[in-house]
Symmetry: C2
Subunit: 258 residues, 2 copies
């Protein structure tokens, strides 16, 4: 049995499937894909994932993409490899449904909105530093039309209306999570699940540093306490230490710049 | 064991979880929610689903919402109730991952775009026929901010740019599905799964009638042949016959008007 995990910096989607691999104690080969060099659009990589996106799981030659799908796959393929406290996907149908409710909410109503602000601040700078002819060539190398559009928009700048809408979506999510954590210890119930890993990777880990104006500590104290509980898990702490080649001046997700 | 299914007309999300109930041969109480009377926003219904949306599954008092979550729940809770040909969710991890890849694509890149055209043509007419003060009251009764926004936009009209983007997304999906059906008999492989039910409910069933200008029969002949195979399944045929109170003149989804 051989697992390979192709990923970028330990944030967002790349973090989201790395944490379960480590929580489950699965041995895997880590393959860093350098997004700063656009390796994800290069032929060697699109031969592995035609959509040209990280992360990718290769399990004995079978390719699985999209982090929510990868994480469910790891549960199906390795049901007994679990952290000591509880399985990452609850074994009872209702618990699994609660987990999937949150995964769907995060995938559809959180991920893209935090991402838009990150792209606006970081990828926009990168995109505007590419010479015009080179930028057209870059766009041509991107397989997914939506990603081509996102790069083009990053260069010209996201509209104020789109950024304001993204901010409203993030604030809605903060309030929703804060309310849930008043009722249950973790997002989907009494145990830590893939839903916690999802929200942490796409929002919880960086929201306070990225959006100081939201006053997250005041607005969502339970979320902050939950975030610290997630970050203290050895698997998460280890994942966060993995390779990060982003220039420190551009690390908007990690909150070092705005 | 008692199952109740709260649903509207047999199209889109209401159809999507009704078909698995019937494919699995599960006895359930059907509860029609009249969207034309905005029953989904009324207190008796938001007491059941605070998000004010159909469909809803009630299993012995446990409420499950969101069709992809409901359909996975039915697989977890009733793993042995399956159609004769194959389980709706493949039992091998790779097959389940293929199914989830397609479910995710349909949920995130198809559903809302067909829906936007349907809302533009049908809900727009309904919304514009509501007197101004009554419309504000209607908006106030809608729990989810995104749904409030969708209703307000339906009344004022979706922008040409948004509609054109939605059309492009649907055309991309048609080509992607057509390509897949050149490789496998069903969307996720050799067997009919929840992914087929998902695409059929949100797009496949009505795309040719809703968008004659796309020339679906010419552009996607395999998709048409697949659509007819899905429609011929007794469970699907039975679901399609369930209650439909939409005024015939407004049945844009069923293609009777444009």
């Amino acid at each position: 049995m051989a697992l390979k995990y192709y990923h970028a910096e330990p944030l967002a989607n790349s973090l989201k499937s790395m944490v379960p691999l480590k929580e489950k104690g699965l041995a895997y080969e880590s393959i860093y894909v350098d997004l700063h060099k656009f390796e994800q659009h290069q032929p060697w990589f699109t031969a592995i994932n035609p959509e040209g996106q990280v992360p990718v799981l290769d399990h004995d030659g079978t390719i699985i993409t999209h982090t929510t799908v990868i994480n469910e796959y790891l549960e199906d393929a390795f049901p007994d490899a679990q952290p000591a406290d509880a399985p990452l996907r609850p074994r009872d149908p209702v618990g699994a449904a609660r987990m999937r409710y949150w995964n769907k909410f995060i995938d559809e109503h959180v991920m893209n909105y935090v991402s838009m602000h990150g792209w606006h601040r970081m990828v926009g700078v990168i995109a505007r530093n590419i010479a015009s002819g080179d930028f057209e060539k870059l766009l041509e190398s991107i397989p997914l039309p939506d990603q081509r559009k996102k790069w083009a928009t990053a260069r010209s700048g996201f509209s104020e209306a789109d950024l304001a809408n993204a901010t409203a979506k993030i604030e809605y999510a903060l309030d929703k999570v804060e309310k849930q954590l008043g009722e249950t210890k973790w997002l989907a119930g009494d145990t830590y699940t893939l839903a916690d890993i999802n929200f942490y990777s796409h929002c919880g880990a960086m929201v306070e540093r990225m959006f100081p104006e939201m006053e997250v500590a005041r607005r969502a104290p339970r979320l902050c306490e939950w975030r610290d509980r997630v970050a203290a898990r050895p698997a998460v702490a280890e994942a966060l230490k993995s390779e990060d080649r982003t220039a420190p001046g551009l690390r908007v997700w990690s909150g070092e710049v705005r």
